[in-house]
């Protein structure tokens, strides 16, 4: 993958960085299936396995955006299929409220996504990640210059 560091100086180097929280029982297995099936898709997602999409604290999402993610994807079991009965419903409730909050913070809706992907849907992993990477690529980097969540001196310096 291309170097990602100085894209605000050289926009053509921009590669979207997607942090993907995948649940242990469905979406992570789907990503595994995509791998063993040799399905090719964009290499931009950094997958973090969590036990359940309901485990994704909004703070994880905020932290990802604050520390360089251009997009955050949460993958969980389809409604009714949650290994823990209702964890994905909790994820959906938080997602709706957090999406509204992020929009008001100037973070476009396309940068934050929740998808239900079952263990058999390896091809959906490919489709969702490819689609998200292209949408985020079109939006450009979350930060066109290093300020939001960046070192404080920078926050103070441009005032």
């Amino acid at each position: 993958m291309k170097r990602l560091g100085a894209y605000w100086l050289m926009p053509e180097l921009f590669e979207p960085r997607i942090v993907a929280f995948f649940c242990n029982w469905c979406t992570y297995l789907a990503a595994d299936l995509a791998g063993t099936s040799r399905i090719k898709y964009a290499p931009n997602a950094r997958v973090i396995r969590v036990m359940c999409s309901g485990r994704v604290d909004p703070q994880f999402v905020l932290e990802a955006f604050a520390h360089g993610a251009d997009g955050v994807l949460i993958g969980g079991c389809h409604p009714g299929d949650c290994h823990y009965q209702e964890g994905n419903y909790s994820a959906l409730r938080r997602f709706q409220l957090l999406k509204h909050l992020l929009k008001d913070m100037g973070i476009e809706e396309e940068r934050f996504r929740l998808e239900w992907i079952s263990a058999s849907e390896g091809d959906k992993v490919r489709a969702v990640i490819n689609d998200m990477v292209e949408k985020v690529r079109a939006l450009g980097p979350l930060r066109k210059y290093p300020v939001v969540g960046g070192p404080l001196e920078e926050v103070a310096a441009y005032g």
């Binding site: 604290d57 909004p58 703070q59 999402v61 905020l62 932290e63 955006f65 604050a66 409604p79 419903y89 909790s90 959906l92 409730r93 938080r94 709706q96 409220l97 957090l98 509204h100 909050l101 929009k103 008001d104 913070m105 100037g106 973070i107 476009e108 979350l142 930060r143 066109k144 210059y145 300020v147 939001v148 969540g149 404080l152 926050v155 103070a156 441009y158 005032g159």
Partner: protein
């Protein structure tokens, strides 16, 4: 007799409510001044910057600073206070977390000046005059401090030793801190000097909290008659008690109003708004998108609801800027 320890009070971007909290010590304030000298408190007594500058470094035992930092003047003053003081206390929500002035991080200097000096109907300004850093009048150069786009918490500008939460901190919290300070019994540096558990644990309505909460709809306090004895969340009122540090003596709850989170998070939480949002979203019953949106219909401004006192201390700190001084144009807050 040994010289009495010295205390300083200063305010930055604040409303003055924290200084009121000092006066609310009432006669106990006399006990404080009998065992310590207040050597700097410009809002109450006639001290100037030069008085502070003339003091020896670290000659003040503790400085209590209220207010967030948004101008170069405030930045300079807190740096000066830091060098003159052995300990610095962030005093109140604004210096602790950014406070209500921190909501200005949804905007920029230019948009704020535009609203305040040209658009507000109550401010006639036909020439469109805006504050300038330097103005020349009658051959004299007048200067104003620079106003930053981004409001900062005190600990984003100088090292802070202790935090007193609250909008404002209660007299009890302040007095306990002063007593700990004067008796040399302060806890580990960096501590928030209030209980480290959620307000719900101390809530007078705790017994009426159901074991399992499942709400179809949140309601705004002005739209309903609130029962004075029942858990506010159980009544559908957005109360941040589950996510907020205790220590306020549940004053808002006793006034039949929900907690809005001024004491900030407990020590286990990094981002108050994120955690508060999580707590509130979790008590909705809906399982489908449309029903969930319906449940949160009366939460039109999540930033105002969950980051009312803490936007500058949040992980994102402010609304996104595309370039210096320019807001991301795609969306307007709450629009």
């Amino acid at each position: 007799m040994a010289e009495k320890p010295k205390l300083a009070f200063y305010w930055c971007a604040a409303c003055g409510g924290c200084d009121e909290a000092v006066l609310d010590l009432e006669e106990k304030l006399l006990d404080v001044v009998s065992s310590a000298d207040i050597v700097f408190w410009p809002v109450a007594l006639d001290f100037k910057r030069r008085d502070l500058a003339a003091m020896a470094d670290a000659s003040i035992l503790a400085a209590f600073v209220s207010g967030a930092i948004r101008t170069t003047e405030q930045q300079e003053m807190v740096r000066l206070l830091r060098s003159k003081s052995q300990l610095v206390f962030a005093f109140g929500s604004c210096s602790h977390l950014g406070g209500v002035p921190g909501l200005a991080n949804l905007w920029t200097r230019d948009t704020i000046f535009q609203t305040v000096y040209t658009e507000n109907a109550s401010t006639p300004n036909p020439d469109g005059t805006l504050p300038q850093l330097i103005t020349v009048e009658d051959g004299r150069e007048l200067t104003l401090p620079r106003f930053y786009d981004t409001v900062q918490t005190l600990d984003q500008v100088v090292d802070v030793d202790y935090y007193l939460p609250g909008c404002p901190p209660t007299p009890k919290i302040l007095l306990a801190a002063v007593n700990q300070l004067l008796s040399g019994q302060l806890p580990e540096r960096g501590a928030v000097l209030a209980p480290d558990h959620a307000l719900c644990e101390d809530c007078p309505r705790r017994d009426s909290h159901p074991d399992h909460l499942a709400l179809d709809q949140f309601k705004r306090p002005q739209d309903v008659l609130i029962d004075e004895g029942t858990c506010l969340l159980a009544q559908g009122i957005l109360c941040l008690g589950p996510a907020t540090r205790s220590g306020c003596e549940a004053q808002c709850i006793k006034g039949n109003m929900p907690c809005t989170g001024c004491f900030g998070p407990t020590s286990r939480v990094r981002d108050f708004g994120g955690k508060a949002l999580s707590a509130i979203a979790s008590v909705a019953a809906a399982k489908e998108e449309a029903a969930i949106l319906q449940a949160f219909e009366n939460v039109p401004d999540p930033i105002g609801a969950f980051y009312r006192y803490s936007l500058p201390s949040s992980l994102l700190r402010r609304r996104r800027l595309q370039e210096s001084g320019q807001l991301e144009a795609a969306h307007s807050p709450t629009g």
